[in-house]
């Protein structure tokens, strides 16, 4: 009778061991941070350009914000290879749209398309945290932020990446006027003010986050098109 009991006890034990320690990992976090702020008639996108892998720096200048042909900007954070491929796919879809409809793709259309593109790889995701920035149909600044599998939300400001935990609460306070008494939470910032905030967010993030620094790419989209500037950040 006891032997039967012991058999039952070990009936569920696996026949072979599982090797979890030596498997090849398809993803890498290349570090870096992105942020975007929307205003009444503009959007500002700022991304640092350091690409790293652990404690190593791969590149001092490898941009992670991309200007698309429909005058939208895609800011990314996460795995650089997936981010680059995602941008290529997005741009191809934007081109195809232009061929077929003889006009440029609206930001809202691209936003939905990006969500679908990400969900299309639900079971082997793009390891990217994208922010899509552009002007909406009324010319107001529009930002859409996503998770790696396409959950989409339209927002006024957002930050992703290695220093997002430092930057997002800062933006919550100075752009969203959170935790402030007497401030108007619906007020949108003036462009110059937003630019200062974006740059300050990065100088601050560069100080404390080892993966953020080197150079800052700033894109501003308004009714006249897209401008791009590069600013230096600390290289340590």
């Amino acid at each position: 009778m006891d032997f039967v009991g012991i058999q039952q006890e070990f009936a569920h034990a696996p026949a072979t061991e599982r090797h979890t320690h030596n498997r090849w990992e398809p993803y890498v976090d290349n570090g870096g941070t992105s942020l975007a702020i929307a205003g009444a008639d503009y959007v500002i996108v700022a991304s640092d350009a350091r690409q790293s892998n652990g404690f190593n720096i791969n590149s001092r200048y490898d941009p992670k914000a991309f200007h698309l042909s429909n005058n939208a900007i895609l800011a990314t954070a996460g795995y650089a290879a997936d981010a680059k491929r995602l941008v290529e796919v997005l741009e191809q879809n934007a081109q195809m749209y232009y061929h077929k409809h003889d006009r440029v793709m609206k930001t809202s259309a691209m936003a939905q398309m990006l969500s679908n593109t990400l969900y299309g790889r639900r079971f082997f995701p793009y390891y990217v945290f994208p922010i899509l920035a552009g002007l909406d149909n009324e010319g107001k600044g529009a930002l859409y932020c996503y998770d790696p599998v396409g959950n989409m939300e339209r927002v006024v400001y957002q930050s992703f990446g290695s220093a997002s935990a430092l930057v997002q609460p800062f933006l919550d306070n100075v752009v969203g006027f959170k935790n402030q008494r007497g401030a108007d939470p619906a007020r949108l910032l003036e462009r110059d003010q937003a630019l200062k905030i974006a740059v300050d967010a990065f100088t601050g993030a560069t100080e404390r986050d080892i993966y953020t620094g080197d150079w800052l790419d700033i894109f501003i989209v308004d009714r006249n098109g897209v401008t791009h500037e590069k600013r230096e950040l600390k290289h340590d």
Binding site: E88, Q92, Q95, M96, H99
Partner: protein
């Protein structure tokens, strides 16, 4: 051409070495309204007559952009042209993604040539019923190619396909050695002049039925329709006036 016992499918040869189904497909091209293509040292141009089935309908699009450096004009079955242009567009994008460079025009036309050829050799499929003039600019300069339902592809200095295109070809043959050094404007007007020869008695080229496409080294593939064609039609008329003085 008359019905015969060798024309049922494209996998049957006639004793004279003809595949009638392919030849019949070429007839569909001849039914379409004319398109003219020509090139200079720097640019390649397409001009086309658009047709409208009746007064209520729109004019059929004849010139299609494939990429920033390539475009096509079609004569024949519009739906077949759509399918081929979609294929060319994806091939052009694939070239950029895989090789990091714009698709060379010769490769593009050979790709659709091969596609068309397979429809002339498989049982159960029909040849494409559209002819194309493909213009583009790549590392080796501006190009003009003709694509046939048979899959035969040829490069030209100038050519025309479609209804009454022989008149245009005759005009081009007479003048083509002057095209090399023409400016873009002159080239377009020359194209329109040849195109005009394909029109029936009493018909004119106007902003409704004319379509112009062009591409060059520093000129992205551009298509002009409607009012945008007016300035070139005016130059065409001016030229006319000068000739008759």
């Amino acid at each position: 051409m008359f019905r015969n016992q060798y024309d049922n499918d494209s996998s049957t040869w006639s004793p004279q070495g003809r595949i009638f189904q392919v030849e019949y497909a070429s007839e569909a091209v001849k039914q379409g309204s004319a398109v003219v293509g020509l090139r200079s040292k720097e640019h390649a141009v397409l001009v086309a007559v658009k047709r409208s089935p009746n007064e209520l309908a729109s004019y059929q699009k004849k010139v299609i952009r494939i990429d920033d450096h390539m475009g096509i004009a079609m004569a024949g079955l519009t739906s077949d042209a759509r399918v081929l242009s979609n294929y060319l567009r994806t091939e052009a994008m694939r070239s950029k993604m895989v090789y990091g460079r714009a698709l060379p025009i010769g490769r593009a036309v050979n790709a659709i040539g091969d596609k068309a050829q397979s429809n002339t050799q498989e049982y159960g499929r029909r040849p494409y019923g559209v002819g194309l003039l493909v213009i583009g600019h790549d590392d080796t300069g501006p190009h003009l190619y003709e694509f046939n339902p048979s899959g035969i592809v040829s490069e030209y200095y100038a050519y025309s396909i479609g209804s009454r295109s022989q008149s245009a070809r005759t005009n081009l043959e007479r003048n083509f050695d002057t095209f090399e050094d023409m400016s873009l404007k002159e080239l377009i007007v020359q194209g329109l002049r040849s195109l005009r020869d394909t029109l029936q008695q009493g018909k004119q080229l106007d902003t409704l039925n004319t379509s112009i496409g062009f591409v060059g080294k520093d000129t992205k593939m551009t298509i002009l329709d409607g009012q945008d064609t007016q300035e070139y039609l005016d130059l065409l008329d001016e030229g006319e006036a000068m000739d008759t003085e």
